[in-house]
Point group: D2
Chain length 80, copies 4
Amino acid sequence: ESANGFQFKKDSLTQKLQDTESRNQALEARLSELELRLESQQQEREAFRASLRSLLELLDGKIFELTELRDTLGKLLESS
Amino acid sequence: ESANGFQFKKDSLTQKLQDTESRNQALEARLSELELRLESQQQEREAFRASLRSLLELLDGKIFELTELRDTLGKLLESS
Amino acid sequence: ESANGFQFKKDSLTQKLQDTESRNQALEARLSELELRLESQQQEREAFRASLRSLLELLDGKIFELTELRDTLGKLLESS
Amino acid sequence: ESANGFQFKKDSLTQKLQDTESRNQALEARLSELELRLESQQQEREAFRASLRSLLELLDGKIFELTELRDTLGKLLESS
């Protein structure tokens, strides 16, 4: 092979390598971004569920209190 | 006793008897009125209690439905 | 009229008067009893209504708290 | 430069390029996976919110019905 031929192939390979490496960096940046987004969604989701669990406990309390009120009304009706 | 004395006592007794009988009629009228009032209050009271018992059953239904809603929320939170 | 005739009528009137007076006493006793019963039912009724009014206020409170819980859930759903 | 020198550089570049391309493929596979996961989480989240919105409407209904029950009790207390 001629020296020119070698040089051309070397340049072509170097160019391809640079393109691939720069594509790599773009992919890694996109991956980091997605991983952060997943993590942040996970945290949001946990916070949301924690709020819902609090609401569920509040609802339990309200149902308990309505049941007490119902029993008071029931006893009032039976007693007289 | 003289005939006049007898006549006077008889008139006096007759008068007293009439007064007492007329007092009797007034008392019996008042009694009838009170008995009717008691009976009518009893009926009102029964109707009122029947309405309250209906409300109690409605309240039972609402508490049951709230408990179902609470369970649905609970399962939703556990499942995901 | 003979003295015997007068005496008989007097005794008969006296007897009737005693019967009517004793009937009067029975009626007055019955009236007092009914009046007490009406008054006591009135007091019971007032106490019962007062208890129901307390229950109504408790129910108002529970409905208000359920509405707050509902609004919290609504905001949670909108915010995220 | 000698022919051996050229050959060595070309091999080295070719190797590096292959490594980078294979890293690229791994990154792209990981990205696809994350994108699917994000999309699936998004769908889960939408389904979850839709269920919560249904529950919110049910809760609205229950609160409305409790308020009606409360008004019925209120009218019952006023009317008698």
